[in-house]
């Protein structure tokens, strides 16, 4: 708790609430995505897991920075790096879904 107050007081409390809700929500989504991947075992679902993993990673980075373990510069780098991963992975998932359909039609 003392670590929290060390940042910006009241503001950090609402930030903490947001980060916690986001982390819980993305953790739930990540869990569902992993369960779906275990069922389907396809490349597209693996990429969906990675995308939600990146989304969850953002919350983790935010949480870790809040308690002062990361400098603001590293924090931004990591967070926006995660965005790049997220976008790349979703684009790849869409692309693979298309190639898989083509393959199954050709068969």
């Amino acid at each position: 708790m003392t670590l929290l107050h060390a940042t910006t007081g009241v503001d950090s409390l609402s930030l903490l609430v947001f980060i916690t809700i986001a982390a819980l929500g993305t953790a739930l989504l990540l869990g569902i995505a992993i369960a779906a991947f275990i069922q389907r075992r396809s490349q597209s679902y693996l990429l969906v897991v990675l995308a939600f993993g990146a989304l969850f990673g953002r919350s983790v980075v935010a949480g870790v920075s809040m308690v002062g373990l990361l400098s603001p510069a590293t924090h931004h780098h990591l967070e926006h790096g995660m965005d790049v991963v997220l976008v790349a992975v979703v684009v790849a998932a869409v692309y693979y879904a298309r190639t898989m359909t083509e393959q199954s039609i050709q068969q």
């Binding site: 369960a35 779906a36 597209s44 879904a97 298309r98 359909t101 039609i105």
Partner: protein, 177 residues
């Protein structure tokens, strides 16, 4: 029989086809504890286990082989939707089922594989090799649909795959396999 073992047996009797994690979660017991009691119950023939699609499902012994497979598949919401569609519309072509339920063709095929494997649905081909989906045991299927309901966790995963399949589906309105 111990108190916990009785609880587990009663839970399995009330929820035929439950899988291991559901027993653990619903009764709030540890993995080792559930494993131990289920093994004992299996050995004394009070409970029968059946492994399907990477999961072990549990039943009381009064269910036959076909019923066991069917009950496991009926715990998936989309599989249920497909069966209900076929009950109310009679034999239907796969594309019409996917269209009627607004699900992606890949979602339908995935569930259909299991429904065919567990002998709930038959793929009938006509002279032009066009497929019609037909229920194999309409009355028993209707009865068993009432007996089991999917759990919340099951529903969430099922709806998630429907959404993702729908998003990833390409609109090459495809040929009937």
């Amino acid at each position: 029989m111990t108190e916990q073992r009785d609880r587990i047996r009663e839970f399995v009797a009330a929820n035929p086809g439950v899988h291991f994690n559901e027993v653990k979660r619903s009764l709030d017991l540890g993995t080792g504890q559930v494993q131990y009691h289920l093994r004992k119950l299996e050995r004394s023939d009070d409970v029968v286990g059946k492994s399907l699609y990477g999961r072990k499902h549990y039943y009381t012994p009064e269910y036959g082989e076909w019923e066991r497979g069917a009950l496991a598949v009926l715990r998936r919401e989309t599989a249920r939707d497909i069966l209900v569609y076929l009950i109310s519309n009679g034999p239907t072509a796969p594309n019409s089922v996917a269209g009627g339920l607004e699900i992606a063709r890949s979602t339908l095929e995935w569930h259909l594989n299991h429904l065919v494997e567990q002998e709930l649905v038959k793929k009938k081909r006509d002279a032009q090799n066009r497929v019609t989906l037909e229920l194999l045991h309409p009355e028993e299927t209707t009865r068993m649909l009432q007996e089991v309901k999917p759990s919340v966790a099951n529903r969430l995963v099922d709806r998630f795959t429907r959404l993702v399949d729908g998003l990833l589906e390409t609109n090459t309105s495809d040929t009937d396999k």
